[in-house]
Amino acid sequence: MASTACFVIVSRNDCPIYESEVGTAPKKDEAAHLHQFILHASLDIVQDVVWTTNAMYLKLVDKFNDLLVSVYVTADTHTRLMLLHDSRNEDGIKNFFQEVHELYIKMLLNPLYVPGSRITSPFFDTRVRTLARKYL
């Protein structure tokens, strides 16, 4: 079953520090730009929603045509894990976010990693893709 999904981690300075297409649909060139555009556009909505609740998983935040945006915020309120998807698999997405959060904490524990800089580790990339295949 082909599904599109695009996953982005946005840091405190509103810069994306990690992005990847984790869906199983065949890649279309113009779709990649559209995905990034939708995710960036929903950042404003995330800012509003973030102050209304103190849960970490913010569920569904925005909708564009038939694409949905779900967001998970970590304790410092500004590190956002955002997922663009077209399936409605809330539990799977929640588990995916929690596992990626653990991976992100491990990244932070690396003393050579400057918090807020791009995550370029191929291991992180591989693990995120594995998790996406498992949960999404």
């Binding site: 103190n54 304790a75 653990e102 904490i105 003393p111």
Partner: protein, 179 residues
């Protein structure tokens, strides 16, 4: 975190702090106490950032600065020092004082009392003791100050932290939130 929690003997952490201070303040920068203090505090800052991220993983997020400071006083302190902060005071305008009456990393530090023959000047002794205590212990508090600053910064509270010690092993940390 994966695998059960792995633990380190507390004496190791104690000794590490002592050695950190000895290395930075005596060996690396003997004539520049300010620079040594900033270096140690920066190490504490990074550790505090990482610890805060780990300890807040499961719990819901904080509604405001006071919640974050209370988290530091209770859960964070309990995880790192195995006790909670004894007293928290605030002036409701961004200054918080965290008081710990028996700070674990200071329990092994003692100050020589004044030499005999000056027992007549008791109040002078008290003041002299206090200043000797703060001199001796002040250096060992750079790392915990950095720890608090790093943890709070990662929870969204930008602040400056300083420490004061009057009688060992009690000490207080003053947190000034930057607006």
């Amino acid at each position: 975190m994966p695998g059960g929690g792995r633990e380190v003997a507390e004496s190791c952490v104690d000794s590490l702090n002592l050695e950190l201070v000895a290395t930075y303040c005596k060996r690396l920068h003997p004539n520049k106490p300010e620079l040594a203090a900033r270096r140690i505090e920066a190490i504490g800052y990074q550790v505090g950032l990482q610890l805060a991220e780990r300890y807040t993983k499961e719990r819901p997020r904080f509604a405001d600065h006071l919640e974050a400071i209370k988290f530091i006083c209770k859960d964070f302190w309990a995880e790192v020092f195995r006790k909670q902060v004894d007293n928290l005071k605030t002036n409701h305008r961004g200054v918080f004082v965290l008081q710990d009456n028996k700070f674990r990393w200071l329990t092994r530090i003692s100050v020589d009392s004044a030499p005999p023959g000056e027992a007549a000047q008791m109040d002078v002794n008290a003041a002299a003791n206090a200043s000797r205590a703060s001199q001796a212990a002040g250096q060992y508090l750079y790392f915990p100050c950095g720890l608090i600053r790093g943890a709070l910064t990662n929870l969204g509270v930008a602040c400056a932290v300083s420490a004061e010690v009057s009688t060992l092993p009690a000490c207080s940390f003053v947190v000034r939130v930057k607006v």
